[in-house]
């Protein structure tokens, strides 16, 4: 194994650097022979050194199905035996994964710096809450000013409200995209940042729709593990498929070089609008799920800090990688809870640590700095998960362990 790979390395070196030397050394005379040889060597080195991309859809599909089934079993187990706290964390992970994956589509894949997810989340949360609350509950909640007419009478089922939440968020995103993407530059960041603030102000002041600072209470707790993870997995599937299609390639081309993308007949405006609207749709739907998870929403829930957290997730995971967004969301959501241990009093060897409130944020920041120092492009870089890469990595680790034991 070792000898073979060294040989390949040598042959590759020859073909790349010393074509003449290569030909003499192996007494290869004709062009075609050489080409065949080079192809063979490259093929060998492909299987040994690099991520093997032999097409094995059958095996990959089977592995995906098995792991998905395992995950669903885990969800079932969690749903039946886990405590409220753990289930809540699992739900949060699902919703933040949705948010991070969709946020990554516009920020990482298309390269347009948006700061708007908190606004779309708020819009989605309010839309779906107003749609699922029963007319009696609405009458009881809106004590300052009564809710305006058509909304006060409407009551739809939970799935419909989630879709509606997505649609409203997407429509608002479309309205913003039309002026913003007509011009080039980082205007999207400014406009979405402003939009987030406007939404806050509207939520606080248009009392006859949002109930002002009191917010909406007593929402039916529809969101459970099946809903949150179902929608989350569906989102990941849709985003992955979109990114791997020609539309996704167009998005990446716009990120890499907008002028060159346009010279290749890609309508940059339409591509950016598609990515932005799509991500707003997902964020709106996530808002609906979040509202029915925590059952009480108020304007103060949707501050800029939320966007900031999402930004941390996708940067830690690797800007531009959907896999990275998932990893980032899980790490930050779950890790944030694990770090709570540092805020509680502990006694170790007779020494009592009182626990400092806010300590977890300090540790979190330090970890962030470390990531930015030692893994600047995030955990995944721009790579995506593939079974082959995972298997190769396992082989590498296996070989390493064998050599050192």
């Amino acid at each position: 194994m070792l000898g073979k790979s060294t040989f390949c390395g040598e042959a590759l070196f020859c073909t790349k650097v010393l074509p003449g030397h290569f030909r003499n050394a192996f007494c290869i005379t004709s062009e075609s022979e050489e080409r065949a040889y080079v192809a063979a060597v490259r093929g060998m080195s492909d299987t040994l050194q690099r991520n093997d991309t032999r097409i094995t859809p059958g095996r990959d599909r089977m592995l995906t199905c098995v792991s998905l089934a395992t995950f669903l079993c885990f969800l079932w187990y969690a749903d039946s035996y886990f405590g409220d706290y753990s289930i809540r964390i699992l739900n949060n992970i699902a919703i933040f994964t949705m948010l991070a994956v969709s946020y990554n589509l516009i920020n990482g894949v298309t390269g347009q710096f948006s700061l708007g997810p908190n606004a779309f989340l708020a819009i989605g949360a309010y839309t779906s809450s107003l749609l699922t609350l029963s007319p009696e509950e609405k009458l009881r909640t809106f004590i300052i000013e009564p809710l305006v007419w058509p909304i006060s009478e409407i009551s739809v089922s939970f799935p419909v409200s989630i879709v509606a939440a997505g649609v409203v968020a997407a429509l608002l995103a479309l309205l913003m995209a039309i002026p913003v993407f007509r011009v080039r530059g980082d205007y999207l960041a400014i406009v979405t940042l402003g939009f987030g603030e406007v939404i806050q102000v509207v939520a606080n002041n248009v009392v006859s729709v949002t109930n002002g600072p009191l917010g909406l209470k007593g929402l039916p707790p529809y969101t459970n593990l099946w809903w949150s993870w179902g929608v989350c997995l569906l989102t990941i599937l849709c985003v992955v498929r979109l990114v791997n299609s020609s539309y996704g390639r167009a998005m990446k081309a716009v990120r890499e070089d907008e002028t060159a993308a346009e010279a290749m007949a890609i309508n940059a405006f339409r591509t950016k609008t598609l990515a932005f609207t799509f991500s707003a749709f997902v964020q709106g739907a996530a808002g609906g799920l979040l509202a029915h998870l925590i059952t009480t929403i108020s304007p103060s829930l949707f501050t800029f800090m939320l966007t900031f957290n999402l930004l941390i997730m996708i940067v830690i995971g690797g800007l531009g990688s959907t896999t990275g967004a998932v990893i980032g969301a899980v790490l930050v959501t779950w890790g944030g809870e694990l770090l709570r241990a540092f805020e509680e009093p502990v006694t170790v060897f007779g020494y009592t640590y009182e626990g400092i409130p806010g300590m977890r944020m300090v540790i979190f920041s330090v970890l962030l700095v470390l990531v930015m120092l030692f893994a600047r492009s995030g955990i995944m870089g721009r790579h995506e998960f593939s079974w082959q890469a995972l298997i190769n990595r396992c082989h590498l680790i296996g070989n390493f362990l064998r050599r050192h034991s």
Binding site: V38, A39, R42, T53, C238, R241, L242, S245, S246, Y247, G248, R249, A250, K252, A253, E256, D257, T259, A260, A261, E262, A263, M264, A265, I266, N267, A268, L274, G320, R382
Partner: protein, 257 residues
């Protein structure tokens, strides 16, 4: 077709008060290879940028296949059949070589976003078609062995070839090459000369090119336009251009009396 294949009429581009290009009349017949030469800063790249809609012409007209394309947006011009390469290579560096070529075939994609997400309808057949087209073009340009590499990791000469392969994926009728052999050694230039001829005959292309390598330009072009300081000074076959006193003056300076 009796109409015009490609023509610019008094094409002028000004940046502020500076006329980067003035009154360029350039006519390209179908199937020709036409060169655009001139000293540095003469306005050659500006002409290409104006033709492809990257800068807005301040005056004049551009006619392509009997349609007035002046003032069209870049993607529309590209879709109408004009592909180009860039002087300072502009690839999508973080995408693979195959993806780079496939990006340019986006305008020929017939499936919708919904079909892309669901994987139904024309998605599979279209993706296969684009992929096969990309493989064909990479093969034509001799880049097949790099297919899965990142475009940014390719050697310089191959990056230039990849840019052409990407342009060809648009299925253009007119291919504009901006300094395609810059930085190549004489041997590579000769190979490239053959390549240009091959793609022209195999794909039925018309080619417009800019270059400073006079040997290459004289060798490959049927007609040559010379511009200096934004002003067209000569037009003709390579022989005529080589003997034109105005061209010699522009390149070597006026002979003082």
């Amino acid at each position: 077709m009796s109409g015009v294949f490609f023509r610019t009429e008094r094409l002028t581009v000004s940046f502020g008060g500076l006329a980067a290009l003035s009154n360029l009349d350039l006519e390209i017949q179908e199937g020709e290879i036409v060169g655009l030469i001139g000293p540095n800063g003469a306005g050659k790249t500006t002409a290409f940028n104006a033709i492809t809609g990257i800068v807005k012409p301040s005056r004049g007209r551009i006619v392509f296949l009997d349609a007035d394309i002046t003032g069209w947006r870049t993607p529309r011009i590209a879709r109408s059949g004009i592909a180009r390469t860039f002087q300072n290579i502009r690839l999508y560096e973080d995408l693979t070589v195959t993806e780079n070529v496939m990006v340019a075939a986006h305008c020929s994609v017939r499936y919708s976003v919904v079909e892309a997400i669901s994987g139904l309808g024309r998605f599979r057949s279209d993706e296969r078609r684009i992929h096969e087209r990309a493989q064909f073009l990479l093969d034509l340009m001799g880049l097949t062995r790099f297919a899965r590499e990142k475009a940014g990791s390719l050697p310089y000469g191959s990056q230039r070839k990849l840019e052409i392969a990407r342009g060809l994926a648009l299925n253009p009728q007119l291919l504009l090459l901006d300094e395609p052999v810059a930085g190549m050694n004489p041997h590579e230039t000769m190979e490239f000369c053959e390549l240009v001829r091959t793609i022209r005959t195999e794909l039925g292309l018309t080619v417009g090119l800019i270059d400073h390598d006079m040997g290459f330009v004289m060798d490959v072009c049927h007609k040559i336009k010379v511009i200096d300081h934004g002003i067209p000074i000569a037009w003709g076959t390579p022989q005529e251009i080589q003997n034109d006193p105005k061209v010699i003056a522009a390149y070597l300076g006026e002979t003082s009396a």
